[in-house]
Amino acid sequence: MIDFLIGLFLATLITALFTTRLYRLLWWYSLNSLMLGFLALFIGRELDDKAMLITGIATIIIKAIGIPFVLKNLSQKFHFVRQVIPRIKVQYAIMLIPAILVFTFYLSEPITHMIKSNSNYVAISISSLFLSLLLMIEHKNVAPKIIGFLSMENALFLLGITATEGMPMLVELGIFFDLLMAIVVINLLFHKEEMKV
C-alpha cells in the first residue's frame, strides 16, 4: 500500500510536469499533497505514531486543500497568466524524466545495502526533488515556480515520513509554520504589485 501511494505521488508529480494549464497544475499539486497526506496517515497507523497522524491530517488540510485554494484565489484576483507552457520541449522531457529516475536510483545504490527497509524511498524523494526543480526550470512564470517550490516541500516531507519514519513533532510543526509564512509573504508580494499598478 505504501508503495502504491508513493507511486501515485510520483505519478502526480510527473503529470504536473507536462501540464500546460495553471489550474490543472494546482489540481495535480493538490492530488500530490493528498497522496502525501494519505501516506503519512498510513505509515502513522502502521507505526502507531500519533504525531505522524497529525502531520498527515495537517498535510491534507493545508497542502491539499488550503494552499491550492489560496493560490487559485490569488490567481483570480491578480489575473495570472493561465496558460503555462513548459519551456523544455516534451520530446526532451520524456527522455529526461526517466533519466532522472534512473540516475537517482543509481545514486542511492550505495545506501541500499546499508539501510534495510526503505532505501528506495530515499531515491524516490531525491528524484522528486529533482523533478520539482525541473518543474521550476521549465516555467518562466512565477505561479508555476511557486508550485514547484511547494512540491519540493512535498518531496522533503516524503523523505521525512518514509525514510526516517517521521521527524520530531516540533520540527514538523515548525516546517508547517514556515510554509504558512511563505504563503503570507507570497500573498504580500502579489499585493504590493497590485498596489503599485
Binding site: 523544455i88 543509481y106 545514486l107 550505495p110 529533482f130 526543480l133 521550476m136 515556480k145 514547484g148
Partner: protein
C-alpha cells in the same frame, strides 16, 4: 618579538642614515604639501615600519611591519595627487608590492608551520625538513625582489618613485628597497642556509639582467625621477650580483671569497642608499623649483642652485662608480669578487661568470653616460624653459638635508674600513668567515681583494692624490694670473640659444639607436617644411618614448588575460539571472556525481558516463537552444 643582532643594527644604521637627512629635507619640503597631517602621519609610520621590519624576530611581526610599510608608502605616493598618472602609479605599486607579499606570506607559512610566532632558529629547523627547498627559495626571491625592484618585477619603480613627493621618493628608493635586501640577507642566511649552487646562479642572473636593463631604460628616460628610479633597478642588480657571487662561492666552499662578496653587496647597499637618496633630493629640489619632471625643460640650474648642483655632482660621480667615490669602491669589490671566479673548478660556471663581468662593465659605462646626460642637461648649458630660468636655491632645510646626505656619502668614502669591519662582524655573526684582516692586512690605507692575485685599491691615497694634483694645477693657474674674457659661445655663426643645445633625447641618441632592437621606441616626428623642400623647414618637433619591453610583453598581456577571463566570467554570471534553478539543478547533479564517484567505486567508465550526462544537462538546461 624583536632582536638586535649586528645585521639588524647595520640595517637600523642604514635606515637612520637615510632618514635623518631626509627629515631635514622633508621639513623643508613640508610647506608645499597640502595634506600635512596625512603626510606626516604616514611619513613617520613609514619610517617606523621600516625599522620594525629590520628588528622583527618572528614572522608575524615581520609580515605586519612589511605590509604596513607597503601601506604607508602607498599612501605617501598619494599625498600629492595632481594627475591620473599618480593614481595609477600608486595603484600599480600597491598591486606589485602585494604580489610580492603573497610569496613572502607563503614562504613564512611554510617555514613556520602556520604558527607565526616562532623565531628564526625554529624556522630553520622546519625549513630543513621541508621537501622542496627550492620552492621556498623562489617564494623568497619573488617576495623580496618584487619589493627591491629586480627584473622582471621592476616595472613599478619608474612609475611609483616619480609619483611620490621627493622626500618620499628618496626614502623609498634609498631606504625601502634596502629593507628588501635585508630580507634576503636575513632569511637566506638564517632560514634557508645550505644553498645549492643553482640558487646563487639564479640570483646572479637576475642581478646581471637587472643591472643592464635598469641602466638601459634609465638612459632613454626623460623624466628625471623615473631616470633615477631606473638606476635603482640597476643598482639593485649590482647588489644582487655581489650577493649571487657570495652564494655561489659559499656553495663551492670558497668561504673567504663568499664573505668578501657579501661584504661588497652590503657595502653597495649602503652606498646606493646614500647617493640615491642624495640624487632624489637633488632631483626633488630641481623639481620643486621648475615644477616639471621633464629633463628637457631644465638647463643651467647650476648657476642658480649651486648647492644642489654640487651635491648632485658628488652623487653622480659616486653612482657612476668613478674613483675615489664610495660607489667605485663597492663596485670594485664586486668586480674583484667576480675575478675570484678563476678559482672555481666548475668549468661551465667559470666560463659563465665573465658574462656577468661583462654585464657589470656595460652597466658601468652606460651609467656614466646616463649621469653625464642627467647632470649635463639639468644643470649645465642654458635654461631650456622659463621655469628653469626663474629657479633659485631651495630653502635652508632642504639644502641642509642635501648637505647632510652628502656628508653621509663622503663618510662612506672616508671610513670605508670602519664600515667594512662592521659588515664583516655582521657576517661573522651569521656564521661566515671573517675576512676583515685579509681586506686590510696592513692598516687602513690599502684595501686588498681576497682572491689570489687580486687587486688592491687605496681609496684615501687616491683621494689625497687627486685633490692634491688638482689643487696644485689650479694653484698654478691662479699664479699665472691669466687674463680672462667673457664672450658668447661659438655656434658656427648661429646664435647660441636654449634651442641650439643638445637635448637629452639627442644626447642619448647614439646609444638609443644602438639598442633600437631592444627599445623599439615610439617616435613622433613632425616637420613644417618650407615650400616643399625636404631640407628646409621652419619648425620641427621630435619626441621619442621608450616603453619598457617587460611592460609591453609581460604586464600588458597579464592585464589582457585578466580582462578576458573577467569578460567570460561575466558572461557566465548572466545565466544565473535567468536560469538559476537550472544552475542549482546542475550543481546538485555535479556534486552528487562527484561524491558518488570519489567516495565509492571510481571507474573511468562511470566517470565518462556521468560527464556526458553532465554535459547534456548543462546544454539542455543552462545554455538552451540558440535563437
Amino acid at each position: 618579538m624583536f632582536q638586535f643582532d649586528t645585521l639588524s643594527m647595520i640595517f637600523i644604521a642604514l635606515i637612520l642614515l637615510g632618514v635623518i637627512p631626509n627629515l631635514f629635507y622633508s621639513s623643508g619640503y613640508l610647506p608645499h604639501i597640502d595634506r600635512k597631517v596625512h603626510y606626516l602621519l604616514h611619513y613617520f609610520a613609514f619610517i617606523g615600519s621600516m625599522l620594525g621590519v629590520v628588528v622583527s624576530a618572528n614572522a608575524l611581526m615581520f609580515l605586519f611591519f612589511w605590509e604596513l610599510m607597503s601601506l604607508t608608502s602607498w599612501q605617501l605616493i598619494l599625498t600629492e595627487v595632481k594627475d591620473k598618472n599618480t593614481i595609477s602609479a600608486a595603484r600599480f605599486y600597491f598591486l606589485m608590492t602585494h604580489f610580492g607579499f603573497i610569496f613572502l606570506l607563503l614562504f613564512f607559512l611554510i617555514v613556520t608551520n602556520g604558527n607565526l610566532d616562532v623565531g628564526f632558529a625554529e624556522m630553520k629547523n622546519i625549513a630543513s625538513g621541508f621537501m622542496y627547498p627550492t620552492v621556498l627559495f623562489f617564494f623568497l626571491v619573488l617576495g623580496f625582489l618584487s619589493k627591491a625592484g629586480a627584473v622582471p618585477l621592476h616595472v613599478w619603480l619608474p612609475y611609483a618613485h616619480p609619483a611620490a613627493p621627493s622626500p618620499v621618493s628618496a626614502l623609498m628608493s634609498g631606504v625601502m628597497l634596502k629593507v628588501a635586501i635585508y630580507g634576503m640577507f636575513r632569511f637566506l642566511f638564517d632560514v634557508l642556509y645550505p644553498w645549492p649552487l643553482e640558487w646563487g646562479i639564479v640570483i646572479l642572473v637576475i642581478g646581471s639582467l637587472s643591472s643592464i636593463i635598469g641602466v638601459l631604460y634609465a638612459l632613454s628616460e626623460h623624466d628625471i625621477k623615473a631616470l633615477l628610479a631606473n638606476h635603482s633597478i640597476e643598482n639593485i642588480g649590482i647588489i644582487l650580483i655581489g650577493f649571487g657571487m657570495g652564494m655561489i662561492f659559499d656553495s663551492l666552499n670558497l668561504k673567504v671569497l663568499s664573505t668578501f662578496s657579501f661584504i661588497a653587496a652590503l657595502f653597495h647597499t649602503f652606498n646606493h642608499m646614500s647617493f640615491k637618496s642624495l640624487l632624489f633630493m637633488g632631483a626633488g629640489s630641481v623639481l620643486h623649483q621648475t615644477h616639471t619632471k621633464n629633463i628637457e625643460k631644465y638647463g643651467g640650474l647650476i648657476k642658480t642652485m649651486p648647492i644642489t648642483a654640487l651635491t648632485f655632482l658628488l652623487a653622480s660621480i659616486s653612482i657612476s662608480a668613478l674613483p675615489p667615490s664610495n660607489g667605485f669602491l663597492s663596485e670594485w669589490m664586486i668586480f674583484q669578487s667576480m675575478l675570484g671566479s678563476s678559482h672555481i673548478d666548475n668549468m661551465p660556471l667559470k666560463l659563465a661568470i665573465p658574462f656577468a663581468v661583462f654585464a657589470l662593465a656595460v652597466t658601468g659605462g652606460l651609467a656614466i653616460a646616463c649621469f653625464v646626460k642627467a647632470y649635463g642637461i639639468t644643470f649645465l648649458g642654458l635654461h631650456r624653459s622659463t621655469n628653469a630660468k626663474h629657479a633659485h636655491e631651495v630653502n635652508f632645510l632642504m639644502t641642509a638635508g642635501m648637505i647632510l646626505m652628502s656628508l653621509v656619502v663622503i663618510s662612506l668614502m672616508l671610513f670605508t674600513p670602519f664600515y667594512i669591519g662592521w659588515f664583516d662582524e655582521a657576517l661573522a655573526g651569521l656564521g661566515k668567515v671573517s675576512v676583515y684582516a685579509k681586506i686590510f692586512p696592513s692598516g687602513i690605507w690599502n684595501m686588498h681583494s681576497v682572491s689570489v692575485h687580486g687587486g688592491i685599491v687605496s681609496p684615501l691615497v687616491l683621494l689625497a692624490s687627486l685633490t692634491g694634483v688638482t689643487a696644485l694645477l689650479m694653484f698654478g693657474y691662479k699664479a699665472m694670473k691669466v687674463k680672462e674674457r667673457v664672450h658668447n659661445t661659438w655656434g658656427c655663426g648661429y646664435k647660441t640659444g636654449a634651442k641650439t643645445q643638445y637635448s637629452a633625447t639627442g644626447f642619448a641618441g647614439p646609444i638609443r639607436r644602438f639598442f633600437n632592437w631592444l627599445y623599439k621606441p615610439d617616435e613622433h616626428f613632425t616637420k613644417q617644411t618650407i615650400a616643399g623642400h625636404q631640407s628646409k623647414f621652419s619648425d620641427s618637433y621630435y619626441e621619442v618614448h621608450v616603453k619598457p619591453l617587460f611592460e609591453t610583453s609581460l604586464y600588458t598581456s597579464v592585464a589582457k588575460a585578466a580582462n578576458f577571463i573577467s569578460y567570460w566570467v561575466y558572461r557566465l554570471a548572466h545565466f544565473e539571472q535567468i536560469r538559476y534553478t537550472a544552475m542549482i539543478f546542475n550543481l546538485m547533479l555535479l556534486v552528487l556525481f562527484s561524491y558518488r564517484i570519489f567516495s565509492h567505486e571510481f571507474s573511468w567508465a562511470t566517470f565518462a558516463l556521468e560527464s556526458v550526462i553532465m554535459m547534456i544537462s548543462i546544454k539542455v538546461f543552462i545554455i538552451g537552444d540558440k535563437k
